[in-house]
Each structure stands twice: as structure tokens, then as C-alpha cells.
């Protein structure tokens, strides 16, 4: 009896959320494209011969991913987020998933919120080691044998954290721990869009693991879409 009551309340709550979310256009949008100019460093193919179970998953060897580019100078794996102007938000319920597959981190750059659950899983037939190298957050270093349960972790301060696997030196990734939910990670065309921004003045920042970050201010008045583009200077080495 009480249980049913619980369900009813729960469903009501969900419905309410749904209504709030879909209550028409609740604010402006910032969208744009991230590109590079110049010649980016050549990405070398990775030799995984030391880990046959991974090597055979890549008939043509994958290359390192510090600079991933798309058509017409699009720059991928750039985290675009609202660095100032937006209020801090509490972490969403669902976990951010970080997978190790074919001795590669998927995704290479994972953006998630402060205190959001980070779920790390190992899909390979070999042990992996996850060693994020934070400066302000708590550091940990764990290994994950094949077939073992996912590791759940949280970060309580915003930070860009390089991640490495101690067992496979070529495996490097990044965590972007952010204060609010207004963020995007560019891929393919290098485009991004930050929606649902209530009217106000914002600082939009784009961060790239080897090219550093750039910021631009933008003012949203009401329900409009502003375009912001970022151009990074590519280094040959």
C-alpha cells in the first residue's frame, strides 16, 4: 500500500521535472565551431605489439589522439564550457562512462560534472591501470583486471585531469571536471552548442589538451542563439 503511494509520488515528481525541462525554450543558445590554423603535429601510429590481445583489435594501427582533426580544419576533442556567469549545478544522477577498449580510452576526452559518478570499465582481455594525475583533487591509482566490476569514482573540485594507464604507456586520456551542465566536447565537424542559457553575461571557454584554452565573453538576452567560434594555433611539433 505504502509502496504504491511511493510510486505515485515518484512518478508525479518525474512528470514535474519533465514539464520543467520541456517548458518551451527556456533560454538562449551559444553555438559555434572550433578550428585550427597551421599544421598540427603528425599523429604517429601506435605499436601495440607488447599487448597482442589489443593489437589484433586494430587491423590498421590507431594513431595517438592528442590532436584529432576533422574536415575543413575542424578540431576535435575540445571541451567548450561556460566558465563564468552560470551558477554551479549539482551533479546529474546518471554516471559518466569511461571505457577501456583495445588499449584505448573511449572517449579520449570525457567531460562530466563535479561530484558526478564516473564509471570506469574494462572491456579488454588484459589488466588495465587507471592513474589520473590531478593537481587539486585527490589522486588515486587502481588496476582493473579483465572482467572485474566497473570502478566508481567522484571528483569534488573542477579540474582538467590527464589520465594514464601505467601498464600501457601509450594510453592517455583526459577528464574535464566542470561546475555546470553547460558544456560540449567537439567531434567530427568541430561544432558545438550550449543550450538553455538564461539571459545574462557568460564567459565561454574552449580547452584543448595540447593547445591550451581560449575564452570569449558573450551576452545572452532572452531566447536567442549566439555564435562563438574558436581558432587554435596548431604546432608542428
Amino acid at each position: 500500500m505504502r509502496a504504491t503511494a511511493g510510486y505515485v509520488v515518484g512518478i508525479a515528481a518525474l512528470a514535474a521535472c519533465a514539464v520543467i525541462v520541456h517548458a518551451g525554450p527556456s533560454g538562449g543558445t551559444v553555438s559555434g565551431k572550433v578550428t585550427y590554423e597551421g599544421t598540427p603535429a603528425k599523429q604517429k601510429p601506435i605499436d601495440m605489439s607488447k599487448e597482442p590481445s589489443c593489437a589484433k583489435q586494430h587491423p590498421t594501427p590507431i594513431t595517438s589522439e592528442t590532436v584529432v582533426t576533422g574536415p575543413s580544419n575542424a578540431l576535435d576533442n575540445v571541451v567548450v564550457y561556460v566558465s563564468a556567469g552560470a551558477p554551479d549545478e549539482s551533479a546529474p544522477g546518471q554516471a559518466a562512462k569511461f571505457e577501456q577498449k583495445g588499449c584505448q580510452y573511449i572517449p579520449h576526452v570525457l567531460a562530466f560534472q563535479v561530484n558526478q559518478t564516473l564509471e570506469i570499465s574494462n572491456a579488454d582481455q588484459t589488466s588495465h591501470n587507471i592513474h589520473p594525475l590531478p593537481k587539486v583533487n585527490r589522486e588515486w591509482n587502481k588496476s582493473q583486471p579483465p572482467g572485474s566490476a566497473p570502478i566508481d569514482e567522484k571528483y569534488d573540485k573542477p579540474e582538467f585531469i590527464p589520465v594514464k594507464c601505467n601498464i600501457h604507456p601509450w594510453m592517455h586520456g583526459n577528464f574535464a571536471v566542470l561546475k555546470n551542465s553547460h558544456y560540449a566536447v567537439t567531434e567530427g565537424e568541430g561544432g558545438f552548442s550550449l543550450a538553455d542559457l538564461p539571459p545574462g553575461k557568460y564567459t565561454i571557454t574552449a580547452w584543448h589538451e595540447s593547445y591550451g584554452d581560449q575564452s570569449q565573453d558573450v551576452t545572452i538576452s532572452g531566447n536567442e542563439t549566439k555564435t562563438v567560434n574558436f581558432v587554435f594555433k596548431a604546432k608542428p611539433y
Binding site: 603535429a41 603528425k42 604517429k44 601510429p45 601506435i46 605499436d47 601495440m48 605489439s49 607488447k50 599487448e51 595517438s64 589522439e65 592528442t66 588484459t126 589488466s127 591501470n129 588496476s143 590527464p162 594514464k164 601505467n166 601498464i167 600501457h168 604507456p169 601509450w170 592517455h172 589538451e209 595540447s210 604546432k235 608542428p236 611539433y237
Partner: protein
């Protein structure tokens, strides 16, 4: 009970000796020019130590069998010759053995360590780091770019800490994850440790040498058979120690040249 002890010990001795005598467990084929000396040394030692082992165990077994819980009571006798005999035996047999092994051993050891590499030996740098080996070929200019530890960026596969932007020599350096070498050509391997102690061990080459941080050692050897062999780390270096390995790929000269060209293109 004493007899039982004798029997068991004889069994243990014979069973222990069996796999050795029948060569069940032996070192793999030797592909180096110096390895045969080591193998002979190992064989000689095995013969001498083996005899000592079997002899002593059987003697022990026999004595315990014969002289335990004797019916004829406490009438004990002493070994003719006594301690002097024992000391003499030890000195004569083991002494000569020690000398023999010591002297022979020197030769085999000298083959590896007391000879300088020929000037035309091919220089390759091997770097050991947690937990992989990487190898560097000097490239067209035949010179290695200097190392800058602060420049090391594994995510970008800059394992050695090269700085091609500023060092011209570094631009054509070829970095690979497997040690590919031409057959019958002396290789001068320069060992460099990136973080902690590691070791370079190739069974087929009969070679083992530690990488000691801050101390750049080198090895030189000549491979006489083509094929793919495993390089493993034998110095405890951390959690990935078991997984720290690379392949040694011995190719015919022309194949090697082609391989090197392809790698150069990748850089």
C-alpha cells in the same frame, strides 16, 4: 623408519634428476655469437653439481638406511680416516671444481663484458620505462638527438623526451616499440632508464643487463639467426612488471633496410 627414509630419499633424488638427464627443461636455441660459451659453462656446471647432488643424497640415504635403530645396540664405530679425510675430500674435489669453474667462467663472462664493441657496430638506444621498452635509431644523420626529460609526453608518443622543434638531430630519429636488427651485424645497444630500474633479458641471446637510472650502460651482441624473439624485463619495476616486454626482430639486411625506411616515413 630409517629404511623408509632411505627409500624415499633415493626416489626423490632419481625423480629430481630425471628431467635434467632427459633434457626436459633446457634453454632455447642460442642465436648469439657468445652464447655457446655460456651454454658449455652451464652444461659443465650441471654435470659437476648434478654428480655432487646425486652422490651426497644417495650416500645420505644409504647411511640412514644402514645405521638407523640398529639391533646390535649402541656399538658405534667411526669412519676410518675421520675428519681429515672429509676435509681433504672437500678441498681436493670442490677446490679443483671451484678453480675449474672460476677459470672457465671467466672466459664465458669475458666474451660478453670484456670486449669493446667494434667501431662499425650499429648503435641503437633502448629506453626502459614503466612498463614498456622503446628503441631509437639515429636516422639518416646517424646522430641521436639529445634527451630532455621534461619534454617526455607519452600521450603524444614522445617517449624519449625529444625536442624536434629545437634539436635538428632529433628530427630524423626513429622511435619504435620493437627492436628490429639486421642479422650478423654487431649491435651496440645503449641502455637508458626513464624512471626506475629495469632489465633487458633475451633468452636466445643469452643476455641480461639491468637498466640503472642515472647510469647509462651498454651491451653489444651479434644475432646469428633471423626470427622474432621476446625481450622481457627481469628487474622488478612496479605493477606492470609482468607485462613489460617487447619483441626482438632479427631480419636479413635488405628486409631490415626496408623496415627502417618504412618506420622513417611514419615519423
Amino acid at each position: 623408519m630409517g629404511k623408509f627414509f632411505g627409500v624415499i630419499l633415493v626416489l626423490i633424488t632419481l625423480v629430481s634428476a630425471y628431467p635434467i638427464v632427459t633434457h626436459k627443461f633446457v634453454q632455447p636455441v642460442d642465436i648469439s655469437t657468445h652464447g655457446h660459451a655460456i651454454d658449455e659453462q652451464l652444461a659443465d656446471t650441471m654435470a659437476e653439481a648434478g654428480l655432487a647432488f646425486v652422490g651426497a643424497q644417495l650416500l645420505l640415504a644409504f647411511f640412514v638406511w644402514k645405521f638407523s635403530n640398529r639391533k646390535d645396540g649402541s656399538k658405534v664405530v667411526h669412519l676410518p680416516g675421520g675428519a681429515k679425510l672429509m676435509v681433504a675430500t672437500a678441498f681436493i674435489f670442490i677446490g679443483t671444481e671451484v678453480l675449474a669453474l672460476g677459470v672457465l667462467g671467466q672466459k664465458a663472462w669475458a666474451d660478453v663484458y670484456f670486449t669493446a664493441p667494434k667501431p662499425d657496430a650499429m648503435q641503437i638506444q633502448a629506453q626502459a620505462g614503466q612498463f614498456a621498452f622503446y628503441f631509437r635509431y639515429p636516422g639518416a644523420d646517424g646522430r641521436f638527438g639529445p634527451l630532455h626529460p621534461d619534454k617526455i609526453d607519452e600521450g603524444n608518443q614522445n617517449y624519449f623526451g625529444l625536442d624536434p622543434a629545437n634539436d635538428v638531430e632529433a628530427r630524423d630519429d626513429i622511435v619504435t616499440a620493437e627492436l628490429t636488427i639486421p642479422i650478423n651485424r654487431e649491435i651496440h645497444l645503449l641502455l637508458h632508464a626513464k624512471d626506475v630500474g629495469h632489465s633487458f633479458y633475451v633468452r636466445e641471446l643469452r643476455l641480461q643487463q639491468d637498466f640503472v637510472p642515472g647510469l647509462d650502460l651498454s651491451l653489444h651482441f651479434t644475432a646469428t639467426k633471423t626470427g622474432k624473439y621476446e625481450i622481457v624485463c627481469t628487474q622488478l619495476c612496479g605493477l606492470g612488471h609482468y607485462n613489460m616486454k617487447a619483441y626482438l626482430n632479427v631480419l636479413a639486411q635488405d628486409e631490415f633496410d626496408k623496415w627502417l625506411k618504412d618506420r622513417a616515413a611514419e615519423q
